[in-house]
């Protein structure tokens, strides 16, 4: 992609060793994912559980080791970066986690958690500066600065998630990787947190990688979207285009399965029982072929490559569309 991409991931591969029934398997959780994040953009990654979307995010922040491909942050190779390079990555690429209950240490105050990135990397000159910045950040996420002295159990789920977001924006990073940040929240709280993230994106000029299984949330917040299935990207494009005119049969079935809050548009009826194949037994051809209404013989043999359709940054991995 173009030169002003702040994050450039090419052909990322991540595999895990898994022991099952006494045998060792290597599961290819991410199998050649390329994506680019432009400055100030929100890129959504959508897919169902096990599709590798979370692993992509974790590989970018270094929580799992990639075994192939490259990750470049502002043009610098992040996987081979030296000490200074890694520090820049740690401060500039930050993560918001799904579970607001598990993501804060129950024995540390909210203030300590929010200041953690600064503490680890030694950015505060003195305690006064530290508490001022913590207070400012808490205010920015809509929490009373007095929350700095509180413990996680005193906060509701929504407040904790705000604290989790505060931790990710002090000091202000370039990129926030949000891994299902609203999935564990009630709808009314979910809307508040989504609004907050949209506000922060504008105020702090953040670029965001927004990982979610929920196409509604993705449609709300992201500019572009990639759809993942079994460790690969099957479709990519502007969010509006992809959601309004999905091309890949998987994207179509995903969109069709969203339960719409409109009883006049019921989708139940067709008896369907197909499920994604096991990660342990990846099919040789297209991973979606077994569930795909368009599958042809070629799909069972050839893995379709992600190819550009030429318009609107649209790309697609399907032989038959």
């Amino acid at each position: 992609m173009s030169g002003d991409d702040i994050l450039d991931v090419r052909d990322l591969k991540v595999s895990f060793a898994v022991r099952r029934a006494g045998r060792k398997y290597r599961v290819q959780a991410v199998d050649g994912v390329s994506l680019a994040l432009a400055e100030g953009e929100v890129l959504g990654i959508v897919g169902e559980s096990g599709c590798g979307k979370t692993t992509v995010g974790r590989a970018i922040v270094g929580l799992v080791q990639a075994n192939g491909g490259s990750i470049r942050f502002k043009g610098v190779d992040a996987m081979g970066a030296g000490r200074a390079g890694r520090r820049a990555m740690h401060l500039n690429v930050r993560m918001v986690f799904q579970d607001p209950y598990a993501s804060l240490n129950p024995r540390r105050t909210i203030g300590d958690s929010v200041a953690e990135a600064g503490d680890i990397n030694g950015i505060f000159r003195d305690r006064a500066e530290r508490s001022a910045m913590v207070a400012e950040t808490l205010a920015a996420v809509g929490l009373n600065p007095s929350f700095a002295a509180r413990y996680p159990y005193e906060l509701s789920g929504g407040q904790r998630q705000r604290a989790g977001i505060a931790r990710a924006i002090l000091p202000t990073p370039s990129i926030v990787i949000a891994d299902e940040p609203v999935s564990a929240l009630d709808v009314s709280v979910q809307a508040q947190v989504l609004n907050l993230m949209m506000d922060l994106r504008e105020q702090l000029r953040l670029s965001m990688l927004f990982i979610s299984h929920d196409l509604g949330v993705i449609g709300q917040i992201s500019d572009r979207v990639v759809v993942m299935y079994m460790g690969r990207i099957v479709e990519r494009g502007r969010t509006r285009t992809v959601l309004d005119h999905p091309l890949h049969p998987y994207t179509r079935s995903l969109i069709a399965a969203i339960p719409l809050p409109d009883p006049s548009k019921r989708i139940l009826g067709a008896i369907e029982t197909s499920e994604p194949p096991s990660l342990f037994k990846r099919p040789s051809g297209c991973a979606y072929a077994a569930r795909c209404p368009l599958a042809s013989e070629r799909c069972l043999i050839d893995v379709p490559e992600l190819r550009s359709t030429g318009t609107d940054e649209r790309a697609l991995a399907c032989h038959n569309v």
Partner: protein, 322 residues
């Protein structure tokens, strides 16, 4: 088929009860799906456990109200007492099937065990197979020999439904059975429940936090907030013209894939914790249309149109404030 009248579930002491569920009433008819929707902590799961007679012990108790199954009071009976007394049968399915299945026993054995409680022993194996076919398990013969960890989440939920159906229930309570599933699997399970409801003439009480799922599945809807049912109506009425401000708020703040980056309307604040509820409308502190009297007056249910009841002094009219 199932009637709940003024059900009140309380924790705390007898002298200072804290009502987790406060005077909930509804009914579910044969072949009907009632969707009970609400956010976490609103008391919807407590309601279902109280109906089943499965409240944790020690823990909250049914302080008032009745649960009637097929016209007979079963409020104080444990599930097995209900079976022994020849009352109607109820079954329940939960969010996480893995915790309800025994990980070291084959699926087939677990279904057979459930069948044997209610049915002739000799035909149990055949009945187990039949049940798996009923829940449209792919390849049922093979799956009888499988262990729970060999199944996907969706298949496990099918097994749980099969076990629940073993007692030929007249009432099935489904507590967030699809929340842990992917959307493409969720739609399959919802379709299955819809089909079973009609075929087996069951009454289904479907509990969820997801308005979308409710709209897809339910015939009638009960919206729960802070231990109370604030709105009940047929599904078209609730989604077509919600009368309670909370219902409206819930629908507005759902993110939509068609919306594009815009701010979502929100319901500000948080639901009250049980025990902190004071006089007046429970939703008043968060309600955009609350008037002064809302904070003090005692509310009673109002039938705004046929079969459409709402717990609000100033209900919305056609989606707009009256």
């Amino acid at each position: 088929m199932l009637t709940v009248r003024d059900l009140t579930v309380s924790s705390g002491s007898a002298t200072e009860p804290v009502d987790i569920v406060a005077g909930v009433s509804f009914g579910v008819a044969k072949g009907e799906i009632l969707g009970l929707v609400g956010e976490s902590g609103c008391g919807k799961s407590m309601t279902s456990l109280a109906i089943m007679g499965l409240l944790p012990q020690p823990g909250p108790r049914v302080r008032a109200g009745r649960v009637e199954l097929d016209g007979r009071d079963v409020t104080q009976l444990q599930p097995w007492q209900r079976v022994e007394a020849g009352h109607g049968r109820m079954a329940m399915i939960f969010q996480e099937p893995m915790t309800s299945l025994n990980p070291v026993r084959r699926i087939g054995d677990q279904i057979v065990e459930a069948v044997r409680v209610h049915d002739d022993v000799s035909a149990a194996a055949a009945r187990a197979r039949e049940l798996l076919e009923l829940v449209r398990m792919p390849d049922p013969e093979m799956q009888l020999a499988a262990y729970p960890h060999q199944l996907s989440g969706g298949q496990r939920q099918r097994v749980m439904i099969a076990i629940a159906l073993a007692c030929r229930p007249q009432v099935l309570i489904a507590d967030e059975p699809t929340t842990a599933l992917d959307v493409t699997i969720q739609v399959q399970i919802l379709g299955l429940l819809r089909e079973l409801c009609g075929r087996l003439e069951m009454a289904i009480l479907f509990i969820t936090h997801d308005m979308g799922v409710i709209a897809q599945l339910a015939d009638r809807v009960a919206v729960m907030y802070a231990g109370r049912i604030v709105e009940t109506a047929a599904v078209d009425a609730v989604f077509g013209s919600p009368r309670h401000h909370y219902t409206r708020g819930l629908m507005d703040c759902m993110p939509s894939r068609n919306a594009g980056a815009r701010r979502l309307p929100t319901v500000s604040g948080q639901p009250p914790a049980p025990g902190t509820i004071r006089a007046g409308c429970v939703f008043a502190p968060r309600c955009g249309a609350a008037r002064e009297q809302c904070h003090v007056m005692t509310l009673s249910r109002v039938e705004v149109s046929r079969g459409h009841e709402v717990l609000c002094a100033f209900p919305l009219n056609g989606g707009e404030p009256a």
